[in-house]
Symmetry: C2
Subunit: 379 residues, 2 copies
């Protein structure tokens, strides 16, 4: 205790200095923000964009030089100050016309009785996702992700349901590439737990061997080994279920979803036979037009940044400023461009909020590659 | 022109104000950094850690209140200032003893003539990766990722070669989970292009049907459709190649790597039959002990952060401060903990650099869940 006391006593004069410095520093910062507003007003009248990278670099070079041994720290400080300042200027300028129109004019609810397109076959996990997202709708199944996107793009379907994460059905990359290629919007999302059943055709005997997608067999390896069941790879879980239902092979079963068992009239011998219970696949709903519900809670964005220290950080800072939480981030190098990255991000938030809209609009104005992918509810 | 001129004229007085403010602000900031150093010195003598979250919150609350309508901006400013200040304090305190020992005492080169373990079978893409990473070594193949990690953990092998990204062989999540579970280090990495060949057993006739992993068949769909070749799913590409070599089925081929064709003595009918050329799988080398080469260029970290606005941003800021580039970032929700995330990050950098080591040590002291995964070269 006495040591702590003396520690506090030692610290007191420094803390008093810090408090005095902070008072003055804050006053100057506020004055600087007011200057930024004067600049914004002049820029607004002259129709000139907020970001002036050359002027910012001049300031960064100057503070680095002036701050001597604190040069790097001063650059970090001023990167933050200029990013905060730009955010205020954008707020005043109401930039980002296209996104403002989108926010004003997009429908606020999904279509009633939509035509829903899924990849794979009836009984696949995308089927369960479609039923969760669009209860009572009978989805149409197409073989590939490409087909789903083309059907929605051509208007053959209203919405597509596709996996984007941790799926055994396909790769995230391909789906994101297709979103960008077809300029689709994300209008919904659901996390579907991956649960496997051991099934057989009704009236056939004890299961000695099962067919399923290789990954599903791996996910159920403990159960299958314990019950001495042989395995054979099949293209996907639903197709394996269908094959078993049609051929009624004696002693051969399938590992598939409960949905697939129901779809093909199979008997479920054991449910939830996967090794672990925390395996989920995230599905999203894609749409040709944006749908922006009043109570949307998740914002998806894609943008690219130059491969320079701090570029991502200063962008994230602006979301943090508004209290918006990052819930997912993924980087992907852009194949044709060295040292440049695409970032896929999900934030909590709603674009009908004035400040959130201003931020998205500002980023869309500042960044050469920026895509607002959607604002939706989680199912 | 005249409009531009008048714009510059209008802007001049504001810019002069900004320059004056910046001069004073920078002086105060430097004074504040000097105070931070005095605090660090007192803390060092008292053996007290750098981060004092309660004191930081008091300051944030105060500046928010004092800055009035600029409250949010002031909070952003001070979050940045405190993060910069903490970085300087850690630099002085030389915190993070365990990592400092690791940096001092780890070997700087990989073992000569190591026993290398791969998942899958000879001819799988992991085989190509192992040959690139350890030329001239004959890898040992084990069925699952779990087996590879256990073999390296138990000392049955020196190094393991496993995929971590965009692989058709397994999921990133599982490999990262195993790294954390076995507290493995990453000691190397290589990006291997995914290239498929159409092969048959020598002396068999025209290929009417091919066996391969489902994903490989999808990746070669254009070529196979154009040549009217039927497809059938198999557990993996190398196993399909082996099966074809052993059975010599008439008219049946395999889609596999050139490595697999060579391994099983198959004839390559067509090479590079995949739809696109930019599909890569990233492999890493896992090891029980850290290896920290003098010329290592990539640092891998895993840490968790509270799900609060800006937490990631302020961490990234500190890497940016040192000029370290982020080359990969991925977030994953922690299953048992709501609203908390694990982040997997790769940065350019070398831990033998004094400042970089200080940063890693500082983060390891500040964060309840922080893992230094390795510092290695890319092959």
């Amino acid at each position: 205790m006495s040591e702590n006391k003396s520690f506090d006593e030692l610290l007191l004069p420094v803390r008093n200095d810090i408090d005095r410095i902070d008072k003055e520093l804050l006053k100057l910062f506020t004055e600087r923000m007011q200057c930024a507003e004067r600049v914004a007003e002049i820029k607004r009248k002259a129709g000139i964009p907020v970001l002036n990278a050359a002027r910012e670099q001049v300031i960064l070079d100057r503070v680095k030089k002036e701050a001597g041994e604190y040069g790097d720290s001063a650059v970090a400080l001023y990167s933050a100050i200029m990013s905060i300042s730009r955010a205020r200027q954008h707020n005043m300028l109401k930039s980002g016309g296209v996104l403002r129109d989108l926010e004003q004019n997009s429908p606020k609810t999904l279509k009633a009785d939509p035509r829903v397109i899924c990849q794979g076959a009836a009984g696949a996990f995308s089927h369960s996702a479609a039923l969760r997202l669009f209860p009572g709708q009978k989805p149409i199944f197409l073989p590939g992700f490409r087909d789903v996107f083309e059907a929605v793009h051509n208007g053959a379907g209203d919405y597509g349901v596709v996996p984007v994460e941790n799926s055994d059905a396909g790769s995230v990359s391909e789906v994101y590439d297709l979103i960008m290629k077809h300029r689709m919007f994300i209008v919904g999302a659901a996390d579907i737990p991956v649960r496997h059943c051991l099934c057989r055709a009704k009236g056939t005997g004890a299961v000695k061997k099962v067919l399923s997608k290789h990954e599903a067999l791996v996910q159920c390896s403990a159960y299958l080994a314990a019950h001495d069941i042989e395995t054979e790879a099949y293209s996907n879980t639903a197709a394996a279920a269908k094959f078993i239902a049609e051929t009624r092979l004696e002693g051969v079963g399938a590992v598939c979803s409960a949905q697939a068992a129901e779809e093909y009239g199979l008997e479920v011998i054991a449910a939830d036979i996967q090794n672990t219970d925390n395996n989920c696949t995230r599905f999203i709903v894609i749409s040709r037009e944006a749908v922006l519900p009043e109570d949307a809670e998740k914002i998806s964005l894609c943008f690219s940044l130059p491969h320079t220290p701090g570029s991502l950080c200063h962008t994230l800072e602006r979301f943090a400023l508004l209290g918006l939480n990052l819930t997912k981030i993924e980087s992907r190098p852009i194949p044709e461009r060295n040292f440049e990255y695409d970032f896929y991000l999900d934030f909590t938030g709603n674009v009908h909020d004035v400040q959130t809209l201003a931020l998205i609009c500002a980023l869309s104005d500042e960044m050469p590659r920026f895509s607002f992918l959607g604002n939706y509810k989680e199912s």
